[in-house]
């Protein structure tokens, strides 16, 4: 089920590597041109942080893929493979500039990535609620009227509103003290 993931990982590796070497070269280059180390570091810091983000996102993708590969249960593996595919396509679209700028990826390939993303959105749709039910949060833990497991949202929203401390009395002291006298003037 993980066919193709390797090529995605290689692409993430390529862009993380390229950005790291580019940012490091900028830093080393500034120093070679006479900048003090601290100044060179500051002047390279946005590019360096970009490298850090790409390196980290690569680790996350790899960790996700490693875990999916370890799973034996076919139905679980397939559901998680769908999520993994969605993940790599979404992440790659988010950082596509880095893959496009040196021609490592073409715009045709990017269109394929987009199509894959929409394909997996649709494929995941029947599993969406269950993928979240699987975290097994009780209503007590979630503390959300909107997210109730039984889905009885509207009647409970009304019940929740009625519990508002403002609804303990029909007329608030602020009305008696300020608004009413103002309106009576």
């Amino acid at each position: 089920p993980n066919g193709g993931i390797t090529e995605y990982i290689k692409t993430f590796q390529h862009i993380a590597k390229r950005q790291t070497l580019k940012a490091a070269n900028k830093f080393f280059g500034l120093m070679e041109n006479g900048e003090k180390r601290e100044i060179a570091w500051n002047k390279s810091s946005v590019e360096l942080n970009r490298a850090s983000r790409l390196h980290t996102r690569l680790f996350i993708v790899e960790a996700f893929a490693r875990r999916v590969n370890e799973i034996g249960d076919i139905t679980i593996k397939e559901a998680l493979s769908d999520l993994l595919h969605l993940h790599v396509n979404y992440e790659l679209l988010d950082v596509a500039t880095y893959a496009l700028e040196d021609g490592f990826m073409s715009s045709t390939q990017l269109d394929y990535v987009r199509d894959q993303l929409y394909f997996y959105l649709q494929k995941i749709r029947p599993n969406a609620v269950s993928l979240l039910d699987s975290w097994e949060f009780s209503d007590r833990e979630l503390r959300s009227v909107l997210g109730r497991r039984d889905g009885h949202v509207y009647e409970n929203l009304f019940k929740w509103a009625k519990e508002s401390p403002l609804n303990k009395t029909d007329v608030l002291p602020s009305v008696d003290t300020y608004l009413k006298p103002m309106m009576e003037k």
């Binding site: 390529h14 360096l48 679980i76 993940h87 390939q109 979630l142 909107l146």
Partner: protein, 471 residues
């Protein structure tokens, strides 16, 4: 609700089996369910009213009430030595807004575990585990955040009395932000620059009594209090702490790795980054914590999107569930994938941390720098993307997401606290960048074989173009 039931019937897998993947095994997932079921039968451990309707003081009182019940009954619900069970119990009973002992478990005890000598552990750790003392970890200062090198708090060794004199010379030196420091804790592991015979030996950790154990009143020489309300997390009494030439015995320096003899002789730690272990510990566990908060918000938004019907895709058909819209799917599903990715990456990192901790105890600290760099990056990226995901989930709920009835704004506020605590994200990314630049230098100088496993790809040859859609 028939709409939600219909959703559950279309699933292609068993949710209990998936829970086993999420929580690291069938046994762990089953224990979570058992704990949840047990808690359902103990009304004293339920919220007495919705938390958003309580004032901060009421929430703190409610949380302290539940903590005392938990302390009495914990062992009948969970195995208190199991960190996973304790974490789940806390989430169910105390929730994400914090509690008076939040930092006691996640920072104070781990700091004593990692940095106190065996004798010190016998003296303090046992008492901490029995909850005879409540502690926190105080590093961050008002004027310098978590920047260790520029901390202003000093601990000057007085050879004559064999004491350290703790002092905060300016307002900016006040410890500021540590959770539960303000009102709940009576002890803290404090980070201060250590001076012996006029020489600065850098930041070190000290076990410091803050309040009288009987009266809970601040001890003479201690200025302490709550820093006021925050964006969220308001059950935690984040505090300030100042010292006015406050004296503690020499033996209160945490001495697993560093030692100061009675005559002032300093024995240095085997590795400069050894004192980072408490922070690395929290960062490792933060990832799975963030994954859970992201999943909270997505649970709420996705279930609601299956209940809410609005508009038509086909004019001849009735109103559809908003989850049918591609825009709604695009808003939520990639973040479901990220939540799983964070959980799995987090579990891997925790395992790595446990390995490093074990190796550190036997004196091997070689992996600490690698783990420090990795967790710095992970913490930054994961907290940032979790914040983005929770905000998308809130907007996916339309107007109701803005109501505290959804609870999403509280989840958001708590989660994005992680963007700044344990190191501000930009600073953390630069921390990782340092490691990457060192690795890039190895590649440049032809020493790629010396690269660590996490950066080996930097020295590997790659294809000239991506093979996506070509294979």
């Amino acid at each position: 609700n028939p709409d939600l039931t219909a959703e559950r019937l279309t699933a292609t897998f068993d949710t209990h089996a998936m829970a086993a993947q999420i929580y690291g095994g069938e046994m762990r997932a089953r224990r979570r369910r058992e704990i949840t079921a047990k808690l359902a039968e103990i009304p004293e451990l339920h919220d007495s009213m919705p938390l958003p309707y309580m004032t901060r003081e009421e929430k703190i009182m409610e949380s302290a009430r539940k903590l005392t019940v938990l302390t009495q009954r914990m062992s009948e619900i969970i195995d208190p030595t199991d960190a996973g069970e304790l974490y789940h119990l806390n989430n169910e009973v105390l929730g994400i807004e914090g509690n008076p002992m939040a930092l006691h478990g996640v920072m104070f005890i781990p700091a004593l575990n990692a940095q106190a000598s065996d004798e010190q552990q016998a003296k303090w750790l046992i008492r901490a585990l029995r909850r005879e003392i409540i502690g926190t970890y105080a590093q961050t200062e008002m004027g310098h955040g978590t920047n260790l090198q520029n901390l202003e708090t000093t601990a000057t060794y007085d050879i004559g009395t064999q004491e350290f004199v703790l002092h905060t010379p300016k307002i900016t030196a006040l410890k500021w932000w540590p959770g539960n420091l303000g009102k709940s804790s009576n002890y803290a592991v404090v980070v201060a620059h250590m001076y012996i015979k006029g020489k600065n030996f850098g930041p070190h950790t000290f076990m410091v009594p803050l309040r009288d154990e009987k009266t809970h009143k601040p001890l003479p020489g201690i200025t302490i209090g709550d820093i006021g309300p925050k964006m969220a997390y308001n059950i935690v009494d984040n505090g300030f702490l100042g010292f006015n030439n406050y004296r503690i015995p020499r033996t209160n320096l945490l001495m697993r790795h560093t030692k100061v003899e009675a005559d002032g002789t300093y024995i240095k730690p085997p590795h400069a980054k050894i004192n980072y272990s408490a922070m690395v510990h929290v960062r490792s566990y933060m990832l799975t914590g963030q994954a859970i908060m992201l999943s909270y918000a997505l649970n709420i938004a996705t279930r609601y999107s299956a209940v809410r019907r609005q508009g038509q895709i086909d004019k001849n058909e009735p109103e559809v569930k908003v989850l049918e819209y591609q825009t709604q799917q695009h808003r939520l599903f990639p973040f479901i994938a990220r939540a799983y990715a964070f959980q799995f990456a987090g579990a891997e990192t925790v395992k790595l941390y446990e390995r490093v901790l074990k190796e550190m105890k036997s004196g091997n600290v070689s992996l600490m720098a690698d783990l420090h760099a990795l967790t710095s990056g992970l913490k930054s990226v994961v907290t940032h993307q979790t914040g983005e995901g929770i905000e998308q989930a809130r907007m996916a709920c339309g107007g109701h997401g803005y109501s505290m009835a959804s609870y999403i704004s509280e989840i958001y506020g708590v989660a994005i606290g992680g963007c700044t605590y344990e190191g501000e994200n930009m600073v953390m990314l630069l921390q990782l960048a340092r490691y990457l630049v060192k690795s890039a230098a190895l590649v440049k100088s032809g020493k790629a074989s010396q690269l660590g496993p996490l950066v080996a790809y930097l020295g590997a040859r790659s294809e000239p173009t991506s093979l996506i859609d070509r294979v």
